[in-house]
Every structure is written in C-alpha cells, then in structure tokens.
C-alpha cells in the first residue's frame, strides 16, 4: 500500500523535527530564541556516533543495552555542553541571542562534519566511512507484533523506541507547560521576565534549565536521524536543513508541543511528498521541497494578522534580561 508506506516515511522524517521543535519550544518559552538548534542537532548526532564508534571498536561483543546506552549518554552530554555554552553567553554574559545562536550553529555543524570526516583517521583505524550497523540494529529494535497488524502496524507500530520517546516527551512537555506550576513560571519568564522576577521566580535559573533541557531534547533528534533513519551511517551534511525546519515547526505548532506531534508528521510528509507525485522531474521536485517553508511563512503571516493572543510568540522572545535595566 503506497499511502501506508508514505505515512510511515513521513513519521520517520517527522521524528527528528519533533525532537528539535519540542526542544526549541521549551527554550523559546523561557524567552531564548536559540538559533543554534541546527548545530546542536548535529552535535547530538555526532556525539552519539563517536560514542558508538569507540564502543564498537573496543568491545569484543556488542551488549545491546550498552550499545544503546553509550551513544545515548554521549549524545545527551554533547548537546548539554552546547546548551550550556548558549546559556552562559546569553544569560550570564547577556550576549545577543541571534549572534550566539548562529555562532553555535556554525560551530556545531562544523563539529559534526569534522568528526564525521576524520573520526576514523583520528581513532587510527582503517575504516573508510563510519557505518555503525550493529549499533543501529540495536536502536531499531521494533515492537515484536508490528508485522502482524497489517497497515496499522506498518504505520504506527514499526518504529523504534526513540520515535515513541519523542512523542511521549512532546506530550509530557505540553502537559508541564500548561498544567503545572513549573510550566506557568517558565511561561512567565518568557512573557515578562521583570514581572516574573518581582514574583520571586529565579529568571536566570529558569532560562538555564529550559535552554539546556531543550538542547538535550533537540540533540536526541540528531541521534535518531543517524541511528534510525540513516541506519547508523553518518554522511557529512546528511542531516541537511532539518534543524531550521524544526524551528519552522515551532511557529507552525504555535509554541505547543502537542500540536507539533501532528505538525511534525505533516512537515515530514511535505518534506518527502515529491517522491510520491508521479511524473515529476528533478527540477519540479526541488520546487516541492519549498513546501514546508512556504507553509510556515503563510502560517506566520496569518497568526500575526489575526493577532490571537494565544498564538503569539513569547513576548520577550530574543531579548536579554538584566534586572537593573528595567
């Protein structure tokens, strides 16, 4: 069935975007516009690859639990460092968020491509390209009964644990943001840090935690891409512009992770729809790849024209906060 296959691929394309956008939503809710997300996703991916590569090279036999755990922890550590760099520069040193974010993206993409290109040389082994099939197989363990459930199994049950984790993280984030005190405080920090500060909320701490947690979540998107989608094969620039697409998805989801679950599938579908349209030549495909961005612009314009209060970006997005400058 074509459409079942399409839907399955769309979900696979959507998962990295979902991770990235959930991470960015948490970050933006604290008022930090982190344009470093594309770089962070690269770092998350390559850190996992480095961990898995070293483990595969040094371990005699692959222990499936370790094979999943080591790359996962490396990925988390890598993205956490990126998040810390961003928060230290923008929150503690009050640097400009856009510049810091773009520098982080330059650095992160360079970091990913550099280690992707020279990892085997640096480790002193003769492998031509990094292919972590064994690790990837551990990551891609499917639910055992997926194959026996027909199209439903193919579309919804055939994915790996990281895919379901993405959905769970997004759903939990949505719950926390709108139904808990922590979420309320976080939103207050993003909307009006001065008021939040006066109410006794530690603005700096919220910004730090939101940015770092957001980075870690976004980094997992990079890990999912390498280990699941690309079958453990790292290719330089292979991740492409998905990081920016994740930022686009934040707008599309009007800063709500529960909407971005469905938005990510839609964006994933738009990203690959050109493969499913009969009679399209290569140049036409390139035009179709515009779709997610065009949809985002349209959406951005519509929400700004309607001025619906719930659909606006956090009021203090992109602005630094310094208590003495009120």
């Amino acid at each position: 069935m074509i459409w079942a296959g399409f839907l399955q691929r769309a979900i696979m394309q959507g998962i990295p975007l979902l991770y990235g956008s959930t991470g960015e939503i948490i970050t933006e809710k604290s008022g930090n516009l982190n344009l470093g997300i594309p770089g962070i996703m690269y770092v998350g991916g390559i850190s996992g690859v480095i961990g898995a590569f070293l483990y595969e090279q040094n371990a005699a036999a692959l222990n499936p639990v370790l094979a999943v755990l080591i790359p996962l922890l490396c990925s988390v550590a890598g993205s956490l460092v990126m998040g810390l760099i961003y928060s230290f520069l923008t929150v503690s040193l009050r640097a400009n968020q856009n510049v810091t974010g773009l520098a982080l993206t330059t650095f992160g993409v360079g970091f990913g491509n550099f280690f992707g290109g020279s990892l085997s040389k640096l480790a002193g082994s003769d492998v031509a390209s990094i292919s972590l099939t064994a690790t990837s197989n551990c990551f891609r363990t499917k639910l055992p009964f997926a194959d026996s459930c027909g199209w439903f199994g193919q579309v919804f049950l055939s994915h790996s644990f990281l895919a379901y984790t993405a959905v769970i993280i997004a759903a939990v984030t949505a719950l926390i943001l709108s139904h808990t005190r922590v979420g309320l405080h976080l939103r207050a920090v993003g909307e009006n840090p001065a008021t939040a500060d006066a109410a006794g909320i530690n603005v700096g701490r919220y910004k730090y935690f939101a940015t770092c947690i957001g980075s870690v979540i976004a980094g997992l998107g990079g890990l999912y891409y390498v280990m699941d989608y690309a079958n453990g094969v790292w290719s330089n620039d292979g991740f492409g512009d998905r990081g920016w697409l994740a930022i686009a998805l934040v707008i599309f989801a009007v800063w709500r992770p529960n909407i971005s679950i469905f938005g990510s599938i839609l964006f994933g579908g738009l990203y690959i729809v050109h493969n499913y349209i009969p009679g399209l030549d290569v140049s036409g495909q390139e035009l179709f790849k515009m779709l997610p961005y065009a949809v985002t612009i349209l959406f951005l314009v519509v929400i700004s024209m309607r001025r619906k209060r719930e659909a606006q970006p956090p009021a203090h997005l992109g602005l630094p906060y310094f208590r003495e400058e009120r």
């Binding site: 520069l89 650095f107 020279s118 330089n236 390139e286 515009m290 612009i297």
Partner: protein, 368 residues
C-alpha cells in the same frame, strides 16, 4: 506579628553596567579575547592533530598569505563577506533582525545568472552588465522587502520570516539549476558563457578580483557615511533605539523599516551579482556559502560600524583560509575551519560583556 530581620548574605560578586569605557580599554579587552581564543584553538588543534601549535599557526599564516595568489583569494573572500556584512548592517542598526541575507544574496545571484543565460547572446556586453546590475539589485530588494512590509504592517516576526525566505530562495535556485544544467540532468550549470564571456564583469589588468574589491570598498565607505551623516541614517538609529521615541518625534517608522530593508536587500543582491557575474561565473545553491549567516556575526562584532567591519571580516576570512590550509596539510576534514571560527566568535561574543559591564567583588564588611 514580629518579623525576624532577614539576614541577607551578600553574593560573592555583583554586576554593574559601565557608564562609558575609554576606547583603547575596550579594544584591549577585545584583543585579549582574540589572543586567548587563539591560544585556546591552538590547544584544540594540538589535541586533534598532535602537532606543535606554533607549527599550526605558521601553517595558518602561510595558508592566508603564503603566495600572491592566496593573498588575492583571501582578499576576495574578505570583500564578499564585507559586502554582505555592510548590507545587513542598516537593518540591524534598526533592530530589524534580518537573517535572510543568505537568500537575498542567492536571489541576486540567480537574477544575474538568469540574465547571463537568457540574454547572453542578445545584448551588447555593456548593456547586458547594466541589465544584470538592475536585475540583481531588484531581486535582492524584493526578497528583503516582503518580510519588511509584513513586519511594518502586522508586526510579523522578521527573524523567523527572513529565515524561511532563505530556504525558498535556495530551493528556487535548485529548481533553476536543474532547468539550466549542462549537460541536461547533471544538476550543475557549469561556467556560463565560457566562450563569449558575455555578462562577465570586466577584469582590471590581470587582477581577477580587483574590481570586486574596489566596488565593495566604495559601498563600505558609502554605508559609513550614510549611517553616520545622513538624515536617513539618523532615523535608522532612532528607530533602533526606540520605535516609540521615533514615532513621537515624527519619524514615519513603517516607511523607515521598508526603505532600510530595500537598501539592505539591494546590496545583498549586488553581492550576489559580484559572486556570480564577477567571480564564479556559475550558480549553485552553495553560491552564498553561508556568508549571509557569517555576515551577521561580522556586523555585530564590529558594533555595526562599516569601517570596523573591514577588520572583523578580515579576521573571519583569515581564519577560514588559514584553518582550511591546516586541514589539508594535516589531512583533516575541511570543517576544521568552522570549529575554529566558532570558538573565536564565542570568545569575542563573551568579551563584550566585560566591555559593557564590570564585575564588582563583595566588599569587605565595614568593621563594626
């Protein structure tokens, strides 16, 4: 109710805003940051390559200044980066976060390439060059003014809008690259008008890039004067400081936003022309090569001053060339330069804090 007086513990240090800082002190702080950053990236390079850091610095210098050819190559990179940086500056001074320079450069380049391909054999070269100039200026301006209009009229978030416009431009270029590709379906345009040189910018003497560099120098000077001495430049500064103040003293804010973005986009379009018609003589989705994003950092590092931008874009161009040389010499991936550039920018971004603020340590409690 009696309340115990709360014992407040003074934090170890506190941060206060500096009033002003002597200019040489500010530059000393920046120079120190760059030196620390260079030492730090030397350590990183040592860890990655195991080479003597001094040897690495020597290789970097050689990569940028080693031969006359390399110097010209670096000057060309510097000029292109400077051109885009100068282009985005008026918008930033207005606090309009135009991160769509990449797309505006690309669309300007696309317009030049289109004129070269479609009109190459129909017009005399001088007329063709004028048509190319007009087309690329217009294309860049249109690409920039769309987000500006929406920002002015409906307060649409310009950062996100211009960011998305980049990818529309990239896909549009991809589309035309496949349409025009030679041979068909190869996905590459190849050198346009290789035989006739129609639409190629003229070469001064035997220096391929001299004309580009001169044009960029003129634009930089123009922008410096425009921002510093013209009425429009003043209006930009006021809108950037506070839109409410600007409205109060009768500056038409919407008009200023749209006009400034027209100028910003047009110069980006011109950069696209310099790249396509003046340098590469071809077009691909990588023609802008990330300069649109790097330019934002260059412009910000120079405090939006076009003259300082010569220095900051020199720094970035030097790092790129030098680190590329290091990566070829030691057999590393060429992305090494992006890591080094990233590290140095982090340090410079961080050091701005020490220029604007002072850290005061906790004062000793007065003896009781």
């Amino acid at each position: 109710m009696t309340q115990q007086p709360h014992k407040v513990r003074e934090p170890l240090f506190r941060i206060a805003k500096r009033d002003t800082i002597v200019w040489w002190k500010a530059w000393c702080i920046r120079a120190a940051a760059i030196i620390i950053a260079l030492i730090f990236s030397g350590i990183v390079s040592y860890l990655l390559t195991g080479e003597n850091p001094l040897h690495i610095y020597a290789t970097m210098l050689g990569g940028a200044f080693g031969t006359q050819r390399r110097i010209w190559g670096m000057l060309q990179n510097l000029a292109m980066l400077l051109c885009v940086s100068v282009a985005v500056t008026p918008a930033f001074k207005m606090r309009f976060w135009n991160i769509g320079a990449e797309g505006q450069v690309l669309i300007g380049g696309l317009a030049s390439a289109a004129c070269m391909i479609l009109l190459g054999d129909k017009l005399p070269n001088a007329v063709l060059l004028i048509v190319i100039l007009a087309a690329s200026l217009l294309a860049g301006a249109v690409w920039a003014v769309i987000p500006a209009v929406f920002r002015a009229k409906w307060l649409t978030n310009e950062t996100l809008f211009t960011l998305m416009m980049n990818y529309i431009a990239i896909q549009l270029v991809s589309f035309f690259v496949y349409k025009w590709s030679v041979p068909k379906g190869s996905g590459q345009v190849g050198v346009i008008n290789r035989a006739t040189h129609a639409g190629w910018m003229p070469v001064i003497g035997k220096y391929d890039y001299l004309l580009n560099i001169l044009i960029v120098a003129v634009i930089t000077l123009f922008m410096y004067i425009y921002l510093k001495y013209s009425k429009q430049g003043y209006e930009i500064a006021v809108v950037g400081e506070s839109e409410n103040t600007a409205r109060y003293i009768g500056i038409p804010v919407k008009k200023v936003i749209i006009r400034t973005m027209l100028i910003s986009g047009a110069i980006c379009g011109l950069a696209g022309m310099l790249l396509v018609s003046g340098t590469d003589h071809t077009i691909s989705r990588d023609t802008a090569a990330g300069r649109g994003f790097t330019a934002i950092m260059v412009s910000w590092l120079a405090k939006f001053n076009p003259i300082f931008m010569v220095l900051t874009s020199f720094l970035i161009a030097f790092l790129e060339k030098g680190a590329t040389e290091v990566s070829t010499e030691f057999g590393l991936n060429e992305s090494f330069s992006e890591i080094i550039t990233g590290i140095i920018i982090f340090f410079i971004i961080g050091c701005e804090f020490f220029i604007q603020y002072t850290v005061k340590m906790r004062e000793k409690e007065a003896a009781k």
